[in-house]
Structure formats: C-alpha cells, structure tokens
Symmetry: C2
Subunit: 211 residues, 2 copies
C-alpha cells in the first residue's frame, strides 16, 4: 500500500522492508502475509513467489535485525580505546541507534524467548575468543583500579547494556508509571539526557566501588 507496484525490479527489497516492519510490530505469530503484501504494494501470490513461506521470510528478516543489533553493540565494544571512553561512546551511539529502532529490543527478545533455536544463526557470527577478550581481558587492569574483579565483569556488562536497552523494551510500562513522558518527543529527550546520566552514574559507581 506504501506505493503502487512499479515494474522495476526492487520488489524483493520492498517485500523485505514491509516484512521487517510488520514482523517488528506484530511478531511472528501476529504478522499476516496479507498485511506484508499490502504494505509492499503487491499481492500474496507474488509474495510467495519471492519467499516460499512465512517462516522463510521471517528467518531472513529476523537474522538481519538480530545482526543489526549485535553489530552495533560489538562494533563499539571492540574498539581499541579505554573502558571509560568506550562506555561514553557506547551510550552516545547506542541510544541514538535505539531511538531510530525503538521496537527492535522487545521484538528480538520476545521472538528469541519463544523460539530459542533462533539464536543458532548468531552463534556462528560470534567470535567467542574476541568476545571474552573484550569482556574479561582487555580492560582488566583499568577496571581492577576500580575494584572490579574479573568475576564482576558479567554483572558490569549486563548493567551497561541495560542502561540503553531497557527503557526501550519497557517503554510502555514507563508510559504508565510516568505519563509525563508519554509522547515520543519527550521520551527521546529523556533518553538523550540518559546518555550522560548513565555515563556519570557508572563512572561514579566504579570510582567508589568497594575494593
């Protein structure tokens, strides 16, 4: 419905984009092939011409979106800068990324929880050696200075990531409890303020963390 089907050969792309939208909004079980076809400006038959089944189309979309999310996180965490700089940069860039993709976290988390097999595709993508290096090794010295032991690293990492992801995942709960940031504009302002709040908060915690 977005625009009439032109006869150029980008139908596949239009389908993919429409599918990404619909799946993100409604989830796998809630999505309808009809709606995807409508948004792509074609009909169901043509949809099946490009993607043989709903499941196949979903898989294609899901893996791209999952990758998008992880790559954003990875690309920042894998840079060769200090933990402190990394933290600041992560919050800055990841919150902007989330503002552009606010539905991504609930979608990914929900689908993943309903079908853990979806994680398979990603495991190949991850270099666990590098990941462990990023998480446990590279900043060990700097963080030891803050009293953070190797053992605390998983707690710290989950904490850092939660600062940017959680408010988007819990968007509608926040809306209930704090109606003052019900509209998107105010919420985004709140999230932009969160960049420095989070950065200051975490650094303050580290500097004062009991050794």
């Amino acid at each position: 419905m977005t625009r009439p089907a032109t006869s150029d050969n980008q139908t596949r792309q239009r389908i993919f984009r429409a599918a990404a939208e619909v799946f993100e909004e409604k989830g796998y079980t809630g999505a309808r092939m009809q709606e995807i076809a409508d948004r792509a400006g074609i009909n169901k038959a043509l949809l099946h011409y490009y993607y043989s089944s709903k499941e196949q189309l979903f898989m294609a979309v899901f893996h791209v979106l999952l990758k998008k999310m992880f790559e954003k996180i990875f690309s920042i965490f894998s840079e060769e800068i200090s933990f402190k700089e990394k933290l600041k940069k992560f919050l800055e860039e990841h919150i902007e990324f989330m503002i552009k993709n606010p539905k991504l976290p609930i979608f990914l988390l929900n689908e993943l929880s309903q079908n853990p097999a979806l994680a398979e595709g990603l495991k190949e993508m991850i270099n666990y050696g590098e990941l462990r290096d990023m998480i446990y090794t590279r900043h060990a010295k700097e963080l030891k200075g803050y009293g953070i032991k190797k053992n605390d690293m998983p707690q710290l990492m989950v904490t850092v990531v939660s600062f940017s992801i959680f408010p988007f995942a819990a968007r509608d709960m926040i809306k209930i409890m704090m109606p003052e940031m019900g509209d998107t504009k105010k919420f985004n302002t709140y999230m932009r303020e969160r960049k420095s709040f989070a950065s200051d908060f975490i650094m303050a915690a580290l500097k004062h963390h009991k050794k």
Copy 2:
C-alpha cells in the same frame, strides 16, 4: 493434559492457570485455545462455557499478571523506610520474585507494546499522587545529599528497576553472549549475586555522584 478432569468444581481455576501458562509462554497471538484446554484437562467447548472468548480469557489473565508485577514493586517502594533500605529490600525481594516468574517481564512488555490499550485497566489501580510522592518527594532530602536532583529521579527509578528486570527480559540474549550461564541454575546464582552487586553499585554511584 496435566491431570484428567475431576468432577470437583475447580474447573474454572484449572482453566485460568492453564491459560496463564500458555499465554505467558506463547503470547496472545501465539496461544491456542486447544492447548489451554489440553493443559486444563478439558476440551474446547467447556473452555468456551467458562470464558466466552479467547480475548476475554486473555484479559482476565493479563490483568492478574500485570497486577502481580506492579503490586510487588509498589508494595516495597511504598514502605516507610529510607531510600537505602528500600533499595536493598527491593533488589532482594524483587529478584527472588523474578526467579519464580522469569517469563513475566517479556510477556507483559511484549503484550503491552502490541496493544497499548491493555494499560487502561492498570491506570485505575495506580494512585498517581502516592506514586509521585514515592518517586519525587519522600526521598528528596536523602537523595539531595547524594547530589540527585528532583529532575534526575525518573532516571534513577528506571535504573533501579532495570537491575532486576532487564536480565530476565534479556535472558536469551545473555545466553548467547555468555554461554557459561546458559542453564537456569547458574543464571539464578548469577541473579542472586546481582542483589548485592546492584545495591553496592547504586549506592557507590550515589555517594560519588557529582553535585
């Protein structure tokens, strides 16, 4: 399927419990009335005898679960104790609550995001005056000592809550990135360690927060 239908009159309860299970696992669109009937040990016709439609059954379940979650949070935050004590108690009790209801957060967040009208039922339940008092007023003095202005309170509250909720919502992501806590037992241990980690972390941040 759980157990054969006994002729005692607790069918309604059995249906409700089965429905809660299935909806929590599969979500509204993914749940099947057949599966609910099976788990309750009855058939679809009888299911419709007690609850006229899927939507009605869902509403009943959803509101109970949403209430369960909010009441747990509220009951702790509304106590007349210092912020520091409240924080400790909240993390202690809420993480135990989450361990018992690990699927609750994604379920609630996902359904709420797909159907914001679901929040309506809750709004009546909330006393916004009391809520604002809890969040903005009651601890103003204590928190001012930590350099937290009234303006920062929404940031702080979301942060506190995220410490216990986020890891459960992101359970399957964590599983991917940190396979070492793939199994439930290790994950629960991790979460129990998080009680004191979070408490220490937050208090350290507050004590060191720039004024």
